[in-house]
Symmetry: D2
């Protein structure tokens, strides 16, 4: 029975897998006659960044239009009738992870506000490390908050700014925010993009038919055949505006004090789509390189290299090429799981079935298997996969993880479990972890191995090239809410609970 204690039963059936989650993808376009359709397509390409809800706001020269729906982009925004309700040549959209229930639509972005001189809609990916502190301040001075979203705080700061132009108000608001964010704003004539001073969250600029586009990843440009122009730089605000003559002006500013860029490593490890370029680097190549470095750092004698699909596949290809061990699809992913098997019955749990993955017995039985995964968070899924591979007849099961051990929480838009739930914090050393998971051996890629895979160089301890606090504890910004303990102040918790 002791094993039951060490194998946390409540979390045992995590169907979405033992992975981290990010909260958003954003897309915006200015001056294009198919603005909302292109935005829907862009959001569809960014669906992996958030599957729970999606919203689009458009403006047609007279009015703003808004559609928000729970569910996948393709569930709603492929309906011509829905797109017809979003006329105009300016649009921004947002796809988000992790809200539940109909009423929570009020938290779905973009958020809109009517300012004295017209409306503004904003959408962002990321998180503010001083959001609750600011929220407390503005409520104390008479503001009414309708959502529990940090993004609403930005709207209030814009509304309260003493500047006259919307751009200046927006920049004024951003100056007060700390954290990691990629943010889009639209007004009746402008599309504005901003990235946090450190450049944690990604944001790229593209162009279609001469019209500017901003989106979280390049894959959203590819889906509509748009051209990649450049990444929005860290701390940069780019203001695009339709001029009276129909031309579009582009004004790039750097209101934040200049610090070196530190893109989030987890975009390369797990979040970004493999066909995207993040900060000019191929995500697929970064993952494959991680697999190559892993084969160098932690070689193993085995008969077959098996990726844990789908995240582990590029690294497994690299590992196989480097090691010379054949690459085979030893685990088959069931594509129909989606988010639907959300409430397994007790019987289903009891049978211990694998709804998401199954062993390809013919390639496993009687073999020494090396499993390649992109990352391990709590280890609960790894545990089950090892057991499944053993059940299929593997003689040895070795795990190689294409990123370092995770020790610390994120506060920049990645949904991390409590630190004490992380595998790396639960066991004294890697041998104990390996025993928990039940593998014959377990190795993680080193932080330098990952830096080299992604950026070509080892980590510079004095000026790390990437955001990597989940591995290292080195946070790239202040953590005002956390340190001010605002998060634990009960008066700041929303007092209204809406049923789902």
């Amino acid at each position: 029975m002791e094993t039951q204690v060490t194998h946390p039963s409540d979390d045992d059936f995590d169907l979405s897998g033992d992975t981290l989650h990010e909260e958003c993808g954003v897309f915006g376009i200015l001056g294009h006659t198919d603005a909302s359709t292109l935005t829907a397509l862009g959001l569809h390409a960014l669906q992996h960044r958030g599957q729970e809800a999606a919203g689009i706001v458009s403006f047609d020269g007279r009015q703003f239009y808004q559609e928000k729906h729970m569910g996948l982009v393709g569930d709603h925004y492929t309906d011509p009738a829905v797109l017809a309700k979003l006329p105009g040549t300016i649009a921004i959209g947002h796809t988000r992870y992790s809200t539940t229930g109909e009423v929570a639509l009020r938290n779905v972005q973009p958020l809109f506000a009517e300012l004295e001189d017209g409306g503004i809609a904003i959408a962002h990916n990321g998180n503010f490390t001083n959001g609750l502190t600011l929220r407390r301040q503005i409520i104390a001075t008479g503001a009414i908050c309708q959502s529990t979203s940090d993004t609403e705080v930005v709207l209030h700061l814009i509304a309260r700014s003493r500047h006259s132009s919307t751009s200046d108000r927006f920049i004024d608001a951003l100056r007060q925010m700390e954290g990691g964010y990629a943010m889009l704003a639209m007004t009746r004539t402008k599309l504005i993009a901003a990235r946090d001073p450190v450049g944690i969250r990604p944001l790229v600029m593209g162009e279609l038919d001469g019209k500017p586009i901003f989106c979280s990843e390049t894959c959203a440009l590819d889906i509509i055949g748009a051209k990649y122009v450049r990444d929005v730089e860290n701390g940069e605000v780019i203001i695009c505006e339709i001029q009276p003559d129909g031309s579009i002006s582009i004004d790039a500013r750097k209101p934040a004090r200049k610090v070196p860029e530190r893109p989030c490593l987890f975009e390369y490890v797990y979040f970004a789509r493999p066909d995207s370029m993040v900060a000019g680097r191929s995500v697929y190549k970064a993952r494959k390189n991680a697999g190559i470095n892993l084969a160098k750092e932690a070689p193993v004698e085995a008969d077959v290299v098996v990726p844990v699909p789908d995240g582990g596949t590029p690294a497994a290809i690299g590992f196989a090429q480097q090691s010379g061990i054949p690459f085979e699809l030893g685990i088959i992913r069931n594509h129909y799981v989606g988010r639907t098997f959300i409430e397994p019955t007790q019987q289903i749990r009891a049978f211990g079935v694998r709804l998401k993955h199954s062993a390809n017995r013919a390639e496993i039985a009687g073999k020494r298997v090396v499993l390649i995964d992109d990352s391990i968070v709590r280890g609960t899924t790894s545990l089950k996969i090892v057991q499944m591979i053993r059940d299929a007849g593997a003689t040895e099961v070795h795990i190689r993880v294409a990123s370092p051990m995770i020790f610390h929480s994120d506060y920049y838009g990645i949904d991390t479990p409590d630190p004490d739930k992380l595998l790396a914090n639960q066991y004294a050393d890697i041998e104990a972890m390996c025993r928990f998971i039940g593998a014959d051996s377990l190795q993680f890629l080193s932080i330098d191995g990952l830096y080299e895979a992604v950026g070509g160089k080892k980590r510079d301890p004095k000026a790390p090239q990437f955001t990597d606090h989940y591995f290292t504890g080195d946070y790239p910004t202040q953590l005002t809410d956390l340190n001010g303990r605002t998060m634990n102040d009960p008066k700041q918790i929303s007092m209204l609970r809406e049923a789902g």
Copy 2:
């Protein structure tokens, strides 16, 4: 073709009938263990005041809970699972007319705001005549409006008040509002009721098991077996609060300067339920008296008195008793129309069918019929009913209307058509109206006849006892928005249009 102009074809198929609509009913209770269930029942009894959406907010000592649903009260709030999401001993609810679409839920009341020292929810019936003016002012000073509801303006004024107690903040906000309203507010310990200085909209106080209740009409007390205590007076604010010892304090204030009460006549003519007492007077008796006075003022030789159901029935009973002409159900109402036949096909229009009413041919054929209606707004329904009665074989059709001609718009919560769509404004005299409607004769009750029916006395021109501007043009309050032309200022119209 001229007849087509005078018989407005677009409005020809008004299935909800040619009537006015009011926007709301409110109910609130403090300190009762079944607070939300009682509120649901009260709203059900007030369903005639608004059928489009209903909302309830409750508080259980720790948190506020909110449910909002489009549709009838009985469609949602009879489900134990829904009521279970509204725990606690304080609740207020609201039922409303005339919003469409899912997203418009954001306009459904009660509205909630988190203030610095806790949450507040408010619900009201009525309309502010300076709502847009105030809205403009608060947006200019940095507020963000999330709904297009005037009620939200009240929340902002409360949030911005410099007073410290919620009650004082609420009264501070009301001081700035003009118009007609019956308003409920709830905080973590208080239930507050307020009625506008003139007392246009109704609001009564009741009691169940020693706990205070406020609601729009007495029928909402009857449904739960609660006792009627008194009407909330014009200009009065009553603050009920749960004390630390569990007792409830009641504090009645009159912050508005004292003016005579002028209840809205249309509550007696059409809106209120016949079994309700409004300002201490039986609505049924007022309507029956109106029929009696109508028989005296405008007698007619006929074989049968037929009510236009259901509004005309009490007046028809009075008319029949006074005139000695037999009362018969010459028109049968189809109870299943509801709000469902909302998009009639062209064929249905072409057939000119009556989905809501049908003639009881056996009581009509070969007879001189006097139809009794409660009121005539545009006359388009009257036109069709007269035709239906003639088609059923009536030899003569006379119309007697138990209220005066309507000439003016309302700005206190009654949804009136454009003045130039009103029958009384479209024709030079009553003979022309009668020709339009196709009746053999047409007579309206005089304003004095209505005053006597409701209040026992003729109208005092110097100090009218009732609000009666739709008949007389005598508005009981300032019309700030209208006079300041705020309503036509495009910048003040909400710029966000949400699809339904």
Copy 3:
């Protein structure tokens, strides 16, 4: 505790009232370009005969089309998109009481079958007294039954008939059926109407633009402005067929051996709409006459005559006119109850609220009230209404019922409770019933009083003019299933249970 036995608590909260229910209304039209729209309108007018589901089948010269939906006619068939799916010039429709759940759609009529020489759809109102016996026989010879509807048995008999023409097959099938029915059938060229040999269930023939129509009641003709032609006679089959030249032939046959017609009295007492003519008699007049006769048979000293709405209103008008006691709306019906308050919470029950009716206190308090109801089945609603009237301050409450006491079950399409649940079977005499109900006096109309009210003559005991077994036990047909105890044979109960 004994009172709990006599006041059955489980049935205590019968929101649909203590009334009987019939199962269907039918409508069909041949040769009209708006066939399905007219059918939808006709069904809407027949909505009072069944509110749970509605179906329409049409044929456009090439194919049959079918729509079936749970809910009211107006919930679905007013949508132009739905009607567009029902093209063609022939259509029949059906509205039905009492099925629940989505899957039960398979029981919703019309039912369709493909025969060797083309399709046939049938719809009927009524019930077969030998349906289960026949069902057993056809299953024993290899038929497959897909529904639990008796109507399907008719389809099987048609399919198995050795006759070649569809009409002859249809008549062949009917010859084997016993019971009460009004049935419509449609093929690719024909619309066929049939009424049971005794003429229990009503069916009328009408005409619009020269095209034949059949429907349950004349109110379905009135809604579309169609002309009433005549009633389909008992035992008659009328076959209308589109000829090659576009004309329509009408062939009326009497395959059943001729017996005198005995229409169901309950159509007059409760089911039919008051504006309908049934067997040439005004339903409204029959009810009013019943009230007049009731005032003669069972006079009472009182201050006010109050109908139990809506069924009791015509009788109350008659009672008031005969007795000279004023008629007043002492009970107000809440029009918004509909079928929505279906799962009252325990709290709602506990409060004993009246969601459907409320007392008009101003007309009740201090008065001697005589309540007029159309019928009493179990008495549970009467009990609550008397209590409500007393709570509103009545000094005396007398009940007068405009039909005789009910002792027996129906087997012809009326859903009756178990005989031992009927009030008349639960108490030894009328005084005991009156005590149960809590009234000061209780009287029922005599069977002769009802016969005179409806047909002008007393009951002829040797050859009763109407079907009246629920009052008298005199069943107009054989009861084969009942006597053969087929109904209790477990093998004949459908073995498939579909969840709702």
Copy 4:
């Protein structure tokens, strides 16, 4: 414009890809307390065989229970409330491709019929080549067909059989059927499995906790941890029955005359899940072998081997291992497309976007690419993928297809396009096909290459080991309906069209 003619624009946006579709997966279990839950899990594992609807029937000793739902298994059958409606220890389930609309539920299997001695439910994968001929015969003798499913014909044949036991009736019905099928039937005590005489469609037998299971593929055994026992043989009927003592008897019969087994090759090429064993052979290995043979038969000089996901991946791995060219994920599949993007707007089509696939530019640009696909049907998707790869910067694009050219229709449950829409029939030779697709070279695997990959031996022209008519025109059974032209007889087409 000529290219538009050759690039059929209507089919241009085939989001489900240019693939064939099979109609069903089946699963059944006898005697297990979790029968319906295990069936739901098994159907989930078989989801790839049909995504449009799923149904389950269970029996609990007293009654049959049935649930049918449009959509994925996981959309409905993971809800404990749904499974609770399926009690009992016997259950069969079915998942199906290609029905639309709610009412089409009547076509969703299992189908149920009440026979004289109890109920029977059947579910099958496959198609009868004499289904319409039989349908015509039974309708001519008085049967009523409620669905348009061939499966219903089997029910009728069972109901009409003169045999007394259900097993004998079932076998009697099967004797009359021609075609390819894997069929399950359940009665109150039995679970029966049958496979067509040639063994076209797959069906395996498994065991869990000593209870027999039948299902389409072994992956449905793996998901619940059940043991694979053996394949049901061609022409075999296996009758499992719960005995009075609770034990289960198993009776295997061979009523069909013995012919050699010929499993369908397309199960290996495309349909079956790669982790399944079909007729004892690993599907994954068969596909990988096909890729190896393809590399031998049709080598090409290239820089990178890219699978067309997901079908082409195993063959691409084999091709890469055999050729020594690196395997890379050059095309990324968007997992969120699902079946939701079903109605693309004109704009989306105009942009020519790829919602399902995107090029991994970093692995493609500047390279000679060899694309590996499992099969080509019409070529329309291949065309677009080649263009996408060229747009991503490939210098050469070669296509290698791991199966032969398709020339003929299937009549055994695979949904094939009109033969004249097949790529192989539209062009004179492979060079013309290659030009149409726009590739630099195009090669298909030979029929012998495929036979060797799957079965280890070349095709035996006198007694082919597999069903392969789509490649060769050699149909393994009679085609009665086709040759009797029944399919084109308009009277046999269902005359009832139900709107979706």
